[in-house]
């Protein structure tokens, strides 16, 4: 693989971790988040500051996860008070709050100029890609495991009808907080990996457009479906690379995509795949 392909593959893997992390909160547990880029950013800034302070790389990845997860759990407390559209607006507010803080804070976080000259992770490009690939694999495997576990079962109940879940002994607040903690910690990991990949971060990397992009990856792939989300992420990461105009009109294209998916195929690519295979089976059965 050339340097360009290697970079692209690394970005896809980072985005897979990021989209999978939102899928855990929105897809599994039904909690809408329009500010997910904030946790990606918290992970990225944590790793950047620690890396510049000379702290060991792998430790920084864990620190980024812990910091993002703790803040995520705190933000998750809002999901105990507000639901659905109101939660979407509140999380969007959290995204803007994060952006406001990093933009204004110049002495530590670098303000609009961000943080540059971040030391390398200590691996060459292909070594770093293999590490990100392995972490994307672990994240995906963990996500699939959660879905199969009783935690995933309880998440499904909360996503479906949280009031009924309560009458069936489900501690809804605890499960929502768990979803936020796990999902945002994974987003923190993605952020730390992005920091070591780009070695230069600015506030705009973690803005509203990024939040919408992550949501589009999840929605296009199929909310709740792990493999759907992976395909959706790869597709949406590659699209702007292959078609230049998409990069220029990113928000417009992603907005249109989101609308089209919600209107015509609410279950995303995963839903379409199921539809086609069941039709194919029906046709075969008919023959």
């Amino acid at each position: 693989m050339g340097v360009y392909e290697l970079s692209l593959a690394t970005v896809i893997c980072i985005n897979i971790i990021l989209a999978t992390s939102l899928n855990l909160i929105t897809g599994y547990c039904g909690q809408i988040s329009l500010g997910h880029a904030a946790f990606y950013g918290i992970g990225a800034y944590t790793a950047a500051l620690l890396a510049k302070a000379g702290v060991w790389g792998p430790f920084n990845l864990i620190a980024a996860m812990v910091t993002a997860g703790l803040v995520g759990m705190f933000v998750g407390l809002t999901s105990l008070r507000v639901r659905e559209d109101f939660l979407a607006i509140t999380t969007m507010g959290v995204g803007f709050l994060f952006l406001g803080i990093v933009r204004q804070q110049e002495s530590l976080l670098g303000g609009e100029l961000g943080i540059s000259s971040i030391p390398s992770f200590g691996l060459d490009k292909s070594g770093f890609f293999l590490m990100v690939l392995a972490l994307a694999g672990v994240t995906t495997a963990f996500s699939l495991y959660v879905k199969r576990s009783w935690m995933g079962f309880a998440f499904e109940a909360v996503a479906d009808d949280e009031d009924t879940a309560r009458t069936l002994t489900v501690d809804v607040p605890a499960y929502k907080l768990a979803a936020f903690a796990l999902g945002t910690a994974m987003a923190g990991l993605a952020g730390a990996l992005y920091t070591y990949f780009a070695r230069f971060i600015v506030p705009d990397d973690f803005g509203f457009i990024t939040s919408i992009t992550i949501l589009s990856m999840v929605a296009v792939g199929g909310i709740g479906s792990v493999f759907g989300v992976i395909v959706g992420t790869a597709l949406l990461t590659l699209m702007p690379e292959f078609f230049r105009f998409i990069s220029d009109y990113k928000l417009l294209v992603y907005g249109a995509l989101l609308f089209a998916v919600m209107r015509f195929a609410p279950e995303g690519l995963a839903g379409l795949n199921r539809l086609f295979t069941s039709r194919l089976k029906a046709r075969k059965g008919g023959l």
Binding site: Y145, V146, R148, S149, W150, M151, F153, A154, E156, A157, A159, D160, D161, D163, T164, A165, R166, T167, L168, T169, V170, D171, V172, A174, Y175, A178
Partner: protein
Amino acid sequence: MNKLLEVQDVTMRFGGVHALEDVSFQVMEGEFMSLIGPNGAGKTTMLLVITGILIPQHAKIVFAGREITRLATHKRARLGMALTHQIVRPFRSMTLLDNVALAVGHGRIRRVTRALTSVNRSAEREQARELLDLVGIGDHAQEAVTGQPLGVLKRLELARALALKPRLLLLDEPLAGLNHVEAPRLADTVVRINRRGLTVVMIEHNLGEVLRVSQRLVVLDNGRKIADGDPKAVMRMEGVRAAYVGKEEEDAAA
């Protein structure tokens, strides 16, 4: 008989509307009690207050000797309260079997950490299948919830409530929407379960079935309790006839 549930002075207002005003009653262990009254009397509100879904302005609720007035809904359910909804509320993304299996596995989801480390669902699905058989919808176990007729979903509600192994079963119009064959059959199932020792409180408009299966009636009208006692004696009381039966007779006369 011991008191299982004691509801004291429940007052619940929605804005200016008094849904319940100073309502008190008791439920004895092993009893089959029906809560009746005309539409808008506050029956469903009362069940939602007992389960903690609604928080009343004033009340004292004691369940199994423990005051639960401020306890969260899921904790009340853990103490042994199960509710079926008047308007069915199945988990629509799951099969019928998994709807019940989740409730069977309530011990596994008690703690988030335990839920994350448990994967196997086969034992719970086995028990869930038995419960679906008990309420007569075992054949539909693997089917999706969407598209099922109301009769099946009503029974699913009951199976799911029983899966919690409750001490008190609260049924909100379990027979509504069932035909004249299904209704007595489901009522009989509930009676059978009650005779095995499970305490039942049922809201129901099907008076024929109510009188057939209940051991005691509590009548609500306009948010107040107007009668409490033996079903036949209660139905003879003038206030009850005026509030409840009288309206039906007027309707019939018209």
